[in-house]
C-alpha cells in the first residue's frame, strides 16, 4: 500500500471522517485553552469540570436533549458550586474542587445504574470518537468554534488576567469577570473534548499541549500556535494508529500527547533534560581537557 492510499483510506468511511473532524477540532480548541490553564495552574479545575459533566450527559440522553446541553449545564454548575464552597474561606480551593467534582461524578454513576437507557458508560468515560453522529459533529463544531473565537478575541485580556490580575483591576478591567469567562470557556471546551477522549481523559487535552508548548518557548504567542499544533498532531497520530493497529482511539490520542511531552521534556533546545546533560558533559570535558 502506498503512502497516499494509507493516508486517504480511513476517509472512505463516514464514521472515520466524523472522527477526524471531531478529534481535530476538539484538540485544537483544547490546545489553545491549555496555554492559560497551565500558566494559571488550573489543572485540577480542568479535571473537576470534565468529570462533573457526567450526570449532565446521562440526563441529556434520558430526556433526548443534545448531550452538550446537559454537559454544559453541569460543567457550569460545578464551577459555581466550587466557587461557593471555597468562598467561605474555611475550605481551601483544592478541597472545594475535590468535594464538588467527585460528588457530581458519583451522581452520574448512580444515574447510569438506575436509568434504563442505551447509554454505554464506557463510551462516556473513555470516549467513542469512532461512533459520533452527524448531530454530535454539529454540536462540537458550534461550541468549539464559539469558544475558539472568544478566547482568541479576548486573548490579551486573558493573558493579563493570568499574569497580573491586580493590574487588570487597577486599570479598570474586572478580574473576577475575566476569571469567570475563562471558567465558562473551560466548561465549554471540556464538553467539546468529551467525545474524543471521554470524561476521564479530557484533562489530558486541557493540560498536556500547553505544558509541552511551555517547554519549547518563552513566548506566549508561540505557545498559542504550538499547543494546538501539537494537539492536532497527536489527534491525527492517535486516530491513524487506532485505525490501522486497532487500539482504543481516545487512549491512543492521549498517549501520543504524552509521547510528545516526553520528547519535549528530554530534547527541548533550551530546557531539555537530555540536552542539558549533554551540554554539561561537554563543558566538563572542555574544562578538563
Amino acid at each position: 500500500m502506498d503512502l497516499l492510499t494509507w493516508i486517504v483510506d480511513p476517509f472512505t468511511y463516514g464514521f472515520m471522517q466524523r472522527a477526524f473532524v471531531v478529534a481535530v477540532v476538539s484538540a485544537a480548541v483544547c490546545g489553545v485553552l491549555s496555554c492559560w490553564l497551565v500558566l494559571i495552574g488550573w489543572s485540577l479545575m480542568g479535571d473537576a469540570v470534565s468529570h462533573a459533566v457526567l450526570p449532565g450527559v446521562v440526563l441529556a440522553y434520558v430526556v433526548g436533549a443534545p448531550f452538550a446541553v446537559g454537559a454544559l449545564a453541569f460543567g457550569l454548575l460545578a464551577v459555581a458550586l466550587i466557587g461557593a464552597v471555597r468562598s467561605g474561606g474555611r475550605i481551601k480551593p483544592d478541597a472545594a474542587i475535590g468535594v464538588v467534582f467527585t460528588t457530581l461524578f458519583a451522581l452520574g454513576l448512580v444515574l447510569i445504574s438506575v436509568v434504563p437507557s442505551q447509554t454505554d458508560l464506557g463510551h462516556i468515560l473513555f470516549g467513542n470518537v469512532l461512533g459520533v453522529s452527524d448531530g454530535d459533529v454539529v454540536q462540537v463544531l458550534a461550541l468549539g468554534g464559539a469558544a475558539l473565537a472568544i478566547v482568541l478575541l479576548k486573548r490579551r485580556d486573558l493573558v493579563l488576567y493570568a499574569f497580573d490580575p491586580d493590574h487588570a483591576g487597577a486599570i479598570g478591567l474586572n478580574p473576577r469577570r475575566l476569571g469567570a469567562l475563562l471558567l465558562v470557556l473551560l466548561a465549554v471546551t471540556a464538553v467539546v473534548a468529551l467525545q474524543t477522549v471521554g470524561v476521564v481523559l479530557v484533562v489530558a487535552l486541557l493540560i498536556i499541549p500547553g505544558a509541552t508548548a511551555r517547554l519549547l518557548t518563552d513566548r506566549f504567542p508561540m505557545m498559542l500556535l504550538l499547543a494546538p499544533a501539537l494537539a492536532v498532531l497527536s489527534a491525527l497520530t492517535g486516530l491513524y494508529t487506532s485505525y490501522y493497529v486497532d487500539t482504543a482511539s481516545g487512549g491512543m490520542i492521549v498517549l501520543a500527547m504524552g509521547g510528545l511531552f516526553t520528547a519535549a521534556y528530554l530534547f527541548s533546545p533550551t530546557d531539555g533534560v537530555a540536552v542539558r546533560a549533554v551540554r554539561r558533559r561537554r563543558d566538563v570535558r572542555a574544562t578538563s581537557g
Binding site: L153, D157, F163, D166, H167, A170, I171, D218
Partner: protein, 249 residues
C-alpha cells in the same frame, strides 16, 4: 488638594481588621514612604486606593475622583511586590509594558502605533529600551522593578504605588531606582512606596507615614525614622539607636 486623599477608611477580612480608620493625605508631586511591618495593612491600603478592595467605611479620592473613576481613567499605576509576580510567565518586557496601554485600546486590545510609541518611550525612560524582547524573568532585580515602572508610565499614571520595590535589589540599582522615582515626582507624579526596609527612605522620600492599620505618624523622614517613632510602628522595645537603621528592622 491632595493627590491621594484617604479618610477614615475601614477594611475587614472576616475577623481581621486590615484597615482601621486609615487617614492618609499625600500632596501631588511628592514621594511618600509607607512604613510598617508585614500584616500592618499596607497592601490592603494599596488595594483600596486601586479600587480593587472596597472599604466598609470611609472615603477615598484620587485627584478628586473616586477609586472607580480613577481606575477607568488609568490614574493609578501599580508596581507589584516581586514575590507576587510569576517571573517564569512567557511574556516579554515589551509585553508587560504594553499591558499599561490596555485602557487606551479597543475590545481586543490590539496595539496601535501610538501604543507602540508609548511603550518605546516608557522603556527608554527607565533605561530598558534594548531589552524589550527579553522574557521578563531574565532581567536583574532592579531591571524588573524598572520594567513595571515603565508599565505605569506607558499607562500615563499620575499616581504610582510601589509595593516593596527594594526587595532583592542591590545598593547601586537601589540608587538608580531612587533617582528615577525622584525624577518622576519632579514631573508632578505622586508616588507612594511601601517598604519595611528603611535604607533608601531618607534619599527617596519627602515624607514618611508610619502605618499600623492606620496612620501612626506622618512626618519628614528625619522625624519619622527616630527610633522611638519606629518602635511604635514595629511594636517592639526601642533598639539601640543607630545612624543608619538596618534593613531587617
Amino acid at each position: 488638594m491632595s493627590a491621594i486623599d484617604v479618610r477614615d477608611v475601614h477594611v475587614r477580612y472576616g475577623e481581621v481588621r486590615a484597615l482601621d480608620g486609615a487617614t492618609v493625605a499625600i500632596g501631588a508631586g511628592t514621594v511618600c514612604g509607607l512604613i510598617g511591618m508585614n500584616g500592618s495593612g499596607k497592601s490592603t491600603l494599596f488595594k483600596a486606593i486601586m479600587g480593587v478592595v472596597r472599604p466598609s467605611r470611609g472615603t477615598i479620592r484620587l485627584d478628586g475622583r473616586t477609586p472607580q473613576a480613577a481606575r477607568r481613567a488609568g490614574l493609578v499605576g501599580y508596581v507589584p511586590q516581586s514575590e507576587h509576580v510569576d517571573w517564569g510567565f512567557p511574556v516579554s518586557v515589551g509585553d508587560v509594558v504594553m499591558m499599561g496601554r490596555y485602557s487606551f485600546q479597543g475590545f481586543t486590545r490590539r496595539p496601535r502605533t501610538a501604543d507602540r510609541a508609548a511603550v518605546r518611550d516608557a522603556l527608554s525612560r527607565v533605561g530598558l529600551a534594548d531589552l524589550a524582547d527579553r522574557q521578563i524573568g531574565r532581567l536583574s532585580g532592579g531591571q524588573r522593578k524598572r520594567a513595571f515602572v515603565a508599565r505605569a508610565l506607558a499607562q500615563d499614571a499620575r499616581i504610582l504605588l510601589l509595593d516593596e520595590p527594594f526587595g532583592g535589589v542591590d545598593q547601586s540599582t537601589e540608587a538608580a531606582l531612587v533617582e528615577l522615582l525622584r525624577d518622576l515626582a519632579r514631573q508632578g507624579r505622586t508616588i507612594l512606596v511601601s517598604t519595611h526596609g528603611l535604607h533608601a527612605v531618607p534619599e527617596l522620600c519627602d515624607d514618611v507615614i508610619l502605618f499600623l492599620h492606620r496612620t501612626l505618624l506622618h512626618a519628614p523622614p528625619a522625624v519619622a525614622l527616630r527610633p522611638e517613632n519606629l518602635t511604635r510602628a514595629f511594636g517592639m522595645e526601642p533598639v539601640t539607636p543607630s545612624p543608619h537603621p538596618d534593613d531587617e528592622v
